[in-house]
Symmetry: C2
Subunit: 198 residues, 2 copies
Amino acid sequence: MAKTDVLSLAILGMLAEQPLHGYQIRKRLGGSLGPFRALSYGSLYPCLKRMVASGLIAADDSDVADATRPGGSKRSRIAYGLTDAGKDRLAAELASSGASAWEDDTFDVRFALFGKTDSATRLRILEGRRTRLSERLEEVAEGLARMRDRHDAYTAELQRHGLERVEREVEWLDKLIENERSATRGTDNHTASAGDNN
Amino acid sequence: MAKTDVLSLAILGMLAEQPLHGYQIRKRLGGSLGPFRALSYGSLYPCLKRMVASGLIAADDSDVADATRPGGSKRSRIAYGLTDAGKDRLAAELASSGASAWEDDTFDVRFALFGKTDSATRLRILEGRRTRLSERLEEVAEGLARMRDRHDAYTAELQRHGLERVEREVEWLDKLIENERSATRGTDNHTASAGDNN
DNA sequence: GTTAGCATGTAAGGAGTTACATGATTTT
DNA sequence: AAAATCATGTAACTCCTTACATGCTAAC
């Protein structure tokens, strides 16, 4: 089974809602998912091509054709939609909560797809991420102790700020985990709300 | 004049304090600078090689030789130090405050080297960074308004958290800018302290 | 009718990782 | 004497960007 990279996963998730063409995909990736603020076409189109080749998505060229000319070939505007294989792959990825799900690169995308992820997996990923960040916290604190004297004021401040940032993300995760747990305790809701943060 | 990439700049900055060998450089990069938490040797050593080739640093192999065997060739342990050209290059880079200085990739390293940067340049970079983040804030808010309805609870929460993170960094910068300004007003201190953050 | 935005793609190249390959030194 | 850590390096590969190349469509 070929690996699904983050970009492909994000695309699969997006196309699960509705077929889209490349240009739209790019804009939405920039808008909602974390790590793709301005993904270039030089990345996107080859990726779509690969996904078509591996049968995860299908290209539909008929989009505008009938809207204007009867027999028209307008070129441009290729809508991509999930195939059955694509749906299966997405489902399989969403059910997994392995190591990579809580790494920096992947976590944001997995989180963005929580609406399609079942409650138990959501919780596992949030907890995995929390553990990951705790480890990071320890590492940094350790390194900070070891280099105490080598730091000038600015390096120390940078370190302190980095630490604070991670601590805040841990707090954020704690809230989400708490939310997730109480939602599960009450109803075993499949699509629990993530709101209620001040 | 060849471009100095972030990694080279970080190395130049580190070697300005004292000669180090590759292994040490790697650990310190992970410890103090932001974007290099675990730089691989596969990146580091080729970079050092390039820097030697372009005359910015010099390799000194005599390190351990006299410590143990008189005529000994111990191999291993190559200490790198700045050449005059390297010092010049570092000085030139530190004096610059162009576009790239406040981008995500570069800012942390530039900040870590503030101890060697003059007050006016520090201020320009901090302000540049602040402006950059403000722009980002606007972009995100804009995109958020445009997609309002397409967001499920989790995507919205991810967006909100991202926004909050950027807002906090702006607050952090505001404090630093304030510090920097008052330090300049008082004494025109070249190596002002960055402390005083709760 | 021309500018701005929509839409698709390719080629070259940058910046990094992983996996491999090797060997010295220190600690247990 | 074995294990951990120090130390240096290369080759293949991944993922992404920039710059280029093309053409349609809507608005002013």
